[in-house]
Amino acid sequence: MAKFVSLQEGIEEVLRDGDSVSMEGFTHLIPHAAGHEAIRQGRKRLTLIRMTPDLIYDQLIGTGCAEKLIFSWGGNPGVGSLHRLRDAIENGWPHRLEIEEHSHAAMANAYEAGAANLPFAVFRGYKGVDLPKVNPNIRSVTCPYTGEVLATVPALRPDAAVIHALRADREGNVLLEGIVGVQKEAVLAAKRSLVTVEEIVEDFGPRNANAVILPSWAVTAIAHVPGGAYPSYAHGYYKRANEFYIGWDKIARERDSFLSWIKANVLEKGPDAFAQYARPQRQAAE
């Protein structure tokens, strides 16, 4: 059963130096507050896994938490480059970053296989492209019925998954809604999981019979962090801070301005700094 913890306790318990970790969220519900806590706690040698490493991984990479990145699209959506990611790959700053690169289809299938406790995923992909030449983990199997050759990737089974969700109930069940991405798969594929939530409610009340819910017994720990997805967004709570994404380009472009920002906004702050971005659902619905 999931236990309720503070964000600090949650990161201490779920994420260790040297772990592979998926902080997922497909544009929506990106666990920014949890990423900041990992930076504050000075995690090292992480293998960061994420389909779309965006600002949160730019920050973890730029502060030296990461040793390897497994990803499929590394940019600032609608804006441009992730400068800290590029600086690590192109110049080895703050240190060399190993990369394992896939396509979205491959990563999504690899999470799905991980959640399903399979060692690999089969899909129709990577035809005619160069990624298999630089990624030895892209292999193939032959269909035992048709003889067709299909692409494979290893299942993703991270040590830890960290996600942000809308609500938890008192039993520790977790509700997601809207663009749900690969978060459910990431949690089910991982050995341990931490979920930050906008709200903790007595129970979820009337809901769609097929609501996207992670049962308490599939989650390790839950921390109440209102606003914890900012500058990403939480469906029905607050909107994506597009201006922050655009502004990040300037902040992250130079090492100095990046480090100053991290000092002022991460190292010298705590999880409560995110609360100002939170809006309870009733207000948000207005």
């Binding site: 499929s72 959506p77 979205h104």
Partner: protein, 256 residues
């Protein structure tokens, strides 16, 4: 009304879409073209974004592939693994709409690196959904502004497969989809030659010369025998496109 080359590119792209199309839409120029089509001649067009939003009808353009607007106006939203398995790989998408950093004469795309992969000169964002969009959609439209660093003789990296080294390469790989059938630029529209699959210019945008197009392309360009002029944007097309951009700027509080 006068128009910019980017507006012409978006409008020319939008005209290729029909009510019956199921489009897998990328962010940026593809998204503008698809939504312009929906707001003008193809109100019944179905738009899908890789974030999982099926049949979405945004009133403003999204800044990211997963903006809340896409979910709020969608028929429904599915998990990303389902999107890639049931909907894209399932073969249900008629048109995939891609952009890219670099393209070659056979419409292969690079969005991965400039220079050596292990020690890149410029690290680009990577493939994202593109490699499997390129292989699994019925056909592919590409929109890119021209320039000799974008339209190159040889790609340093093939992120998404177009026509490989020429006609027949897709079939050799077992691909049964058409691949890129149109490249819509700010200066012209190209299509693969039926005999060779090499891109050739099939229409020039109003006022654009062959020389200007060639200047924006790193390989010696072919021009179709029946080269035409792209019809200029109509006032209605321009008004709807500008209205869409204005709403988008207002919604995002930024120049999107």
């Amino acid at each position: 009304m006068s128009h910019t080359p980017t507006e012409m590119m978006t409008i020319a792209a939008s005209r290729l879409l029909t009510n019956d199309d199921i489009c897998f839409v990328g962010i940026g120029a593809p998204s503008a073209a698809c939504n312009l089509a929906r707001l003008t001649h193809a109100p019944g067009i179905t738009l899908i974004y890789e974030s999982g939003t099926l049949s979405t009808r945004p009133t403003v353009l999204p800044l990211s592939i997963g903006d809340g607007e896409l979910c709020d106006t969608a028929l429904t939203t599915v998990p990303v693994p389902e999107m890639f398995r049931y909907w894209l790989q399932g073969g249900r998408i008629t048109i995939g709409f891609l952009g890219g950093a670099q393209i070659d004469r056979f419409a292969n795309l690079n969005t991965t690196v400039v220079g050596d992969y292990a020690a890149p000169k410029v690290r680009l964002p990577g493939g994202g959904g593109a490699p499997e969009i390129a292989s699994n959609c019925g056909q592919i439209f590409i929109t890119m502004a021209m320039g000799s660093r974008a339209f190159v003789e040889k790609l340093p990296f093939i992120t998404s497969f177009g026509h490989g080294t020429g006609k027949g390469d897709r079939e050799k790989l077992g691909l049964r989809t058409k691949g890129p059938t149109r490249v819509i630029t700010d200066l012209c529209v190209m299509a693969p030659d039926p005999e060779t699959a090499e891109l050739s210019v099939i229409s020039l945008h109003p006022g654009v010369t062959r020389e200007q197009v060639q200047a924006g392309c790193g390989w010696p360009l072919r021009f179709a025998a029946d080269l035409t002029e792209t019809p200029a944007p109509s006032d209605q097309e321009l008004e709807v496109l500008r209205g869409l951009h204005a709403r988008t700027r207002q919604a995002h509080g930024v120049a999107a």
